[in-house]
């Protein structure tokens, strides 16, 4: 069962709709009880970093999540702000992140190359896959997704960068470390490109 971590943010229903169309079982998790059958986890998120971390911390889901992810090594996919929450910290806020993939979240506009560009980064953009990953097949077609964000994940270890996207600067749009994955875009609203990624995530091998 794929469990969508429903701590109050993100379009959980959109993910459920994609998996329903794919015929892959997925349900939301609002309580620790709901997480017990999770074989894959998705952590959505929109809005500000601190707001998301505070809601997750208050939801009662953080501790069972850490047990599943860090001890039982259940694959987890952080989406948009959910990916940013995987980091150690964010320039956007004061709260610490989950620190599951070391790095800092920074404003796109803090990079000189992006400082004159309209923010947020909004629309369809290409994802250039740089590292072999279970999330992407070696298809001829370069995948593209819908992005809507003003901050990016600055990985401490370049080995955790799976794919990059260009908006002024070239930033990490997909990260992974072991059973932990993150995508900056919105696969739940990216037509067949997003559905393919979500389908592939559902089948990532367990470490």
């Amino acid at each position: 069962m794929i469990r969508l971590v429903d701590y109050g943010l993100g379009n959980v229903q959109a993910f459920l709709n994609v998996y329903r169309r794919l015929g892959i079982p997925a349900e939301r998790a609002v309580s620790a009880q709901d997480l017990r059958d999770a074989e894959r986890l998705i952590l959505p998120g929109v809005g500000s970093f601190d707001h998301a971390m505070n809601l997750l911390n208050a939801s009662g889901l953080r501790e069972p999540l850490e047990d599943l992810v860090l001890r039982r090594r259940i694959p987890v996919l952080g989406v948009c702000v959910g990916m940013q929450m995987l980091a150690s910290r964010s320039d956007e806020g004061a709260e610490p992140g989950l620190n599951w993939i070391p790095g800092s979240v920074r404003a796109l506009s803090s990079a000189t190359a992006a400082s004159q560009l309209a923010m947020p980064h909004m629309g369809w953009n290409e994802v250039d896959v740089e590292r072999v990953s279970h999330l992407f097949s070696r298809a001829a077609e370069a995948p593209r997704f819908y992005f809507l964000h003003s901050y990016f994940f600055d990985c401490e270890d370049p080995a955790h960068v799976v794919a990059t996207t260009g908006y002024g600067l070239r930033f990490a749009s997909v990260v992974s470390s072991g059973n932990i994955y993150g995508v900056q875009c919105h696969p739940e609203k990216s037509h067949h490109f997003g559905a393919d990624l979500l389908r592939r995530f559902s089948a990532v091998p367990v470490c």
Binding site: G123, Y146, C155, H186, H191
Partner: protein, 274 residues
């Protein structure tokens, strides 16, 4: 690189889809859910849905219809019409909508934009400004509200600048004069707006052909190009036929932007703030 956003804009009136001309004479063109399904099939970039009655009639948004459209919609969805409180905006986002649009409220309740942006994040808040040109001898536009019925003294450029500061994540500039005419976007208007834009902007009103979209992008670079009639009508007799540019046509639009080439250099991935 980031592509221009090509956005169908659907108007809802009494639960059905309509098209207007210069904001009058709504004509029924079909069922909203059916339209969403067709845009799904065509893998449209994103969708805007505006309820043109809700502010005028001072009624709640039609949450039942919004929920059904959101459930069906496989691309980002923006809803506007009759939003007057942050609670209404939050409720609409919870139904599965990515962005809410404020229009009449921007002029009538200036604090609302900031409150909604604080609650939901500015990425979820769009300000839609409906404008009419004032006189031909200079590029000057005034903002209207309530489906074009109420004129405000507010000049467009001042209100535009204010919306950017107040928390809008995107601004849609909608030309009432060009609405439904299919004579092309108002490029003077578009250029004047784009040069002061620090956030994404989208233009609506007048698109009659793919060439009109190319002209908009060539004039302004990376913007949103929204259209109603173009994606709903076909042919000189305006038969209702929902349509949307193919991926190949969208490559032509993308190539029209100055940003279509990859940057000459790539910043290191570990860019630090200066």
């Amino acid at each position: 690189m980031l592509r221009p956003r090509i956005i169908p804009c659907l108007l809802v009136h009494k639960g059905g889809l309509v098209k207007t001309q210069r904001f009058t004479a709504p004509k029924y063109v079909g069922d909203p859910i059916n339209a969403v399904k067709i845009f799904n099939e065509k893998e449209a970039d994103e969708l805007m849905v505006m309820d043109i009655d809700a502010s005028v009639r001072h009624v709640e948004p039609d949450y039942g219809l919004i929920k059904k459209m959101a459930a069906e919609c496989r691309m980002p969805l923006c809803y506007g019409g009759g939003i007057r409180t942050p609670d209404q905006a939050a409720r609409i986002i919870d139904l599965g909508v990515e962005k809410v649009s404020l229009s009449s409220a921007v002029v009538h309740d200036p604090g609302l934009l900031t409150k909604v942006a604080s609650r939901l994040g500015r990425q979820s808040v769009v300000a839609t400004l409906d404008v009419r040109k004032v006189a031909d001898r200079s590029v000057r536009y005034e903002v209207y509200s309530h489906n074009g019925l109420a004129r405000h003294g507010a000049g467009l450029l001042e209100l535009f600048d204010w919306c950017q500061e107040a928390g809008a994540g995107e601004i849609v500039v909608n030309s009432i004069d060009r609405d439904g005419t299919m004579e092309g976007y108002d490029l003077d208007l578009a250029r004047a707006i784009k040069q002061r834009a620090k956030i994404p902007v989208t233009f609506l009103g007048g698109a009659g052909s793919h060439q009109n979209i190319v002209s908009l992008i060539e004039s302004c670079g990376l913007v949103g190009a929204a259209a109603g009639s173009l994606f709903v009508f076909k042919g000189k007799y305006r038969a209702v036929l929902i349509n949307y540019p193919s991926f190949e046509q969208r490559e032509v639009f993308a190539a029209s932007t100055k940003l279509s080439a990859k940057p000459a250099y790539c910043q290191s991935l570990h860019t630090r703030a200066p």
